[in-house]
Symmetry: D2
Subunit: 355 residues, 4 copies
């Protein structure tokens, strides 16, 4: 393939200042591949980067955002035989340093050298350049081959599903027949509902404030969808579970009261996994966890190769990424894509950009 | 309900001597329920009891066999509010002593007081009377309520499915996307195939010697079914997995070479669970396990409340017990039922008896 | 042995009203033993019961408090062969129902039938009568035989040590070489320091506000003891760990800021176990846990037979219960014992009562 | 430091042909350090390499053997800030590829690219050059800083202790109060005894055939040492444990009957870890494991950073490496060192070579 030298990319020039500009096409190094990007999803993390910034991000004027992408391998650096040119692939975010105490035991999403490029860490779209561009370079560790049966658009959702799965994995992972409450019907919440059902959960209960999202949650497998505006979900979940509470609660919404609600709706001896980002301290009755022997797990993105598991479920049509994609835009319309997502125009859930 | 005082029961009078005789209907004690049995499945364990005997079994002339049964609660002893008369229920085998080092940490299938009735242990159909009878008494710990959508016949399969699930649970339990080989297409093997798929496994490969069973395995979800008469399954599984081997191997057949095969087809760092009973010592290259970091888990029946998980999957129609039921007989025909099962007449897989 | 029919006991007659009165000596039932109590420790839980009350406690005028006790078996109910008359024993608090979803998988401290005596649950000194009396009845599940090398006084500390160990167990249990911070130099904190060292922890850091307690902590094995009045322990722990933070933090103090401190001093990918009771909601930056992949475990008392492990460490002289006993009183002086403990007279840590 | 260009090294020229020859001092590459070796232990693995060979080993005439070594860092490649010149260090064997399914989840000792240097795997002394030389190059992942309180000789034992610890870790890791049987009083067995005691095990029982080794085992902490020549250790262990059996059995001897013995002496619900290498298939009654719910774990060397844990225990003087060192030789006497070890001259246990 004859590769161009220039490409279009969405570069962050400052707070709330994303520009579509020309950039050099990057060259893959040792153990890296160059991906021609076909689709890149907008995530809440992108909005946070644009509006507030994140630690360790590349400088303004250089930083190409975007971390949920899929495309075709068009060039390979040295030392890769896992992939070949022409492979259709999707990506995961985190490549750990491979040498710290966490990476060596498999916890690469919480690498102790997070943001330290020289020591081998990368989080494309966070601490290195990402996927709102025509091309991106990825380390072999962060690439998954996708089957022809999955579109590039849908494949961008494997990071979302990988996060859901990692959250379940953290809390034990084995849920057949369990009652699981999912707090928050955002993309991760809706995908969590699907993942729970795909791996045998019993009753799945989704809570939120927007009826359209809750309806979609039911279509995607939720057995109950509770609008918290109509009353406490705690009572309802107690009722559904014969007074006992949920075996597992997945918090996918960083709203002020979600932790407190979770503590009250989890059964004695049950578990909570927090997959949402809380920017502010929250007030919660942590004594309820102690009294009831509830453990709290946390997940920062998709670890333990969970994107590969997500891909397998997607290939088997057990989870549906397309159901969450409400809008697509060309890369030129990047700012419109961001606004549509951030302001939830026309019920936007997942917005995908096509470079 | 006006309960009879006499009932028909299949009683073991000696090796290979099962007689249908009249017995007193038992009375439920503290924390026990009396179940009017509607269906009881024949299991390999029954054949072993009849032909070889097992430790701690009740005396000849008293022992009512049968441990996979379902029916309706018709009387309750003191201290039960979990169930009421009229409830449709199925059972699990093991009720631990509740006081030994194993029971107290949740390992009730390997109770240290196994067979000690006075200390509270029971394994209905093994160490206490079982279900090939019109009525049986069960401790509250071994009863599961079944929904109307599940027939009594199908419900007898929850112990089979519970065993499969416990075997997967033992080896970590979290298998989305994993490649799992199931050795042996008996009832547990065929149910294991279904359970693996129901909880998100990737590729499931069934091996055996009988084409009809293997075909059924494919209908029930196996992605590959390998007849070992046509060549080594090890090679084929290596081929399917790109040379790496299976993530998990479930041994459900106690054939002489199944352990050795499993050791050779499991990937480096993978797991094996043995759910089959090996009566004789086997020769195996255990050094392969050490060299490849493979762990071996074992399961004696359905523990950790796995029958409840099995029931949940069955209620969701994610596993199908009916598919394994090939024959039904009246209790009077008990010996014909046993022969049909033991000699695999007419392709018998699961044979269910109706008292 | 000729048992008396009457005994002296400390009975709760109302809030802050403990009276030493005569009571019938109880009779052990099925699976129960009667213990002649030689020593019973005062615990923070007792103070809470006396000053605030707890759910499911026996009625005023009947409730004999006390849950950390040791003595000699003087009578046996039916069905016990684990013990014989004359055995020196100590106790654990929780006897689960043995039939709920939690008990059946080994989580008997969070029994779903907590407080339901009819269904078999007991927590002596909380929901049934306890040990500030000349005699008490215990279920076989809650009795541990103690060797002659351990005094009755010291043996009362196995519940304290069992709680520490269960807290470590919950967070993985395997800590050789790990850096562990223990927040709070109360009895559980000081025992946690000892337990951590006894099972191979690397650096153990104790924090608190009282210099005498911190000094004792150092004598008992803490490598550092930090008085939080002199500055943030977070900085100091970061310094000790080369900026990384503690692998595990054990919160044994329910002070308002202990959770927030723990979140800040735990390393990325590390764990926190909460062993303290928080009566009020706390404000904490839970986002730190998510960002850093920190899991939070909770412990309500000593589960998973941890008192047996505690006893083993005590027998090997790897943990020292005597070091925490500052005062002993006769049962007649019960109220003085309670005051001494609650108001920390003369540096009281563990106060033991001799019936 | 002015580094020489030539060094003395023990090179394998063919089966049973080790020669002390001159070699170029290697140059550390990216993420590598050059270590001036002060001590290198002889291990059973070395003997196996010399007498039988192992897969993926470097060619005859090039292969410098030795994998248990310690020394001082004398040069650093690019990209290392974890160490500085002059640091006293010891090593672990395995550096995984960092990119396969096993490495990414922390199982680097069973790297799927084992022996593939180009993909980043290294096992110094097995698949790349090792430590019977004046200098060796190590990847940053395989280097541990040692405190001044530990001699270079003793530090060579951290791989041995790391293997013991990893074996315990695999089987759950949390052993306070447990009864552990260690089969085989070789270096790993004797170190396992020490590690078990250092992390709180209750009774530790060592078995073997040589009285001097067994005596040493008792000095190092074993509560019992059983010479299997005097009768079955199974009976004795049943007796010690009141008929129940050992909670954990560590097999450190690859003798023909060790697995069968372990199966018979493990308690119902207990665990076995195999740390020995079995070259030949063994006959064993695996049905005992199934019947008794025993799981078997395997360990190939020291993983999960267990050498760091070993080092911590050694620094605290909780395990003693020196106790196992019976002989030291100069590098020139390499063949004498090998013979002394292999033929157990003068009761040789650990033989250390000083380059």
């Amino acid at each position: 393939m004859n590769l161009p030298t220039k490409m279009m990319a969405a570069v962050l020039y400052g707070m709330n200042d994303v520009r579509i500009v020309d950039r050099e096409v990057p060259t893959p190094g040792q153990e890296e591949a160059l991906i021609k990007i076909e689709a890149c999803g907008v995530c809440g993390g992108d909005i946070k980067i644009i509006t507030k910034g994140m630690p360790n991000q590349p400088p303004f004027g250089e930083f190409i955002i975007g971390h949920e992408y899929a495309g075709t391998i068009v060039a390979l650096g040295d030392g890769i035989d896992e992939f070949k040119i022409g492979d259709r692939v999707a990506v995961e975010v985190h490549k750990g340093c491979g040498r710290c105490k966490n990476c060596l035991v498999g916890k690469y999403t919480v690498c102790l050298n997070y943001g330290n490029f020289d020591k081998g860490h990368r989080a494309n779209g966070f601490t290195t350049n990402g996927g709102f561009a025509e091309f991106a370079v990825n380390h072999v560790n962060t690439i998954c081959k996708i089957p022809d049966s999955i579109s590039f658009d849908e494949a961008t959702l494997i990071t979302t599903a990988g996060t859901s799965l990692y959250g379940i994995d953290m809390a034990g992972g084995y849920v057949p027949g369990d009652t699981i409450a999912v707090l928050g019907p955002g993309a991760i919440g809706l995908m969590s509902v699907q993942c729970c059902k795909a791996i045998g959960a019993g009753k799945v209960i989704l809570t939120g404030t927007r009826d359209d999202r809750l309806e979609l949650g039911k279509k995607l497998g939720a057995d109950w969808a509770i609008n918290v505006k109509n009353g406490s979900p705690v009572e309802k979940i107690r009722e559904i579970t014969g007074g006992i509470g949920a075996d597992l609660v997945l918090i996918t919404s960083g709203s002020e009261d979600s932790l407190q609600q979770a503590l009250k709706m989890t059964r004695r001896g049950g578990n909570i996994t927090i997959l949402a980002h809380f920017d502010e301290p929250v007030m919660a009755d942590i004594g309820l966890a102690v009294k009831n022997g509830i453990n709290l797990y946390t997940v920062r993105g998709e670890g333990r190769m969970s994107v590969h598991r997500a891909l397998a479920l997607m290939s088997q049509k057990k989870i549906d990424g397309n159901a969450l994609i409400t809008h697509t835009f060309a890369l030129k319309e990047m700012n419109k894509a961001l606004t549509t997502f951030a302001e939830r125009h026309e019920g936007a859930i997942k917005v995908v950009v096509h470079p």
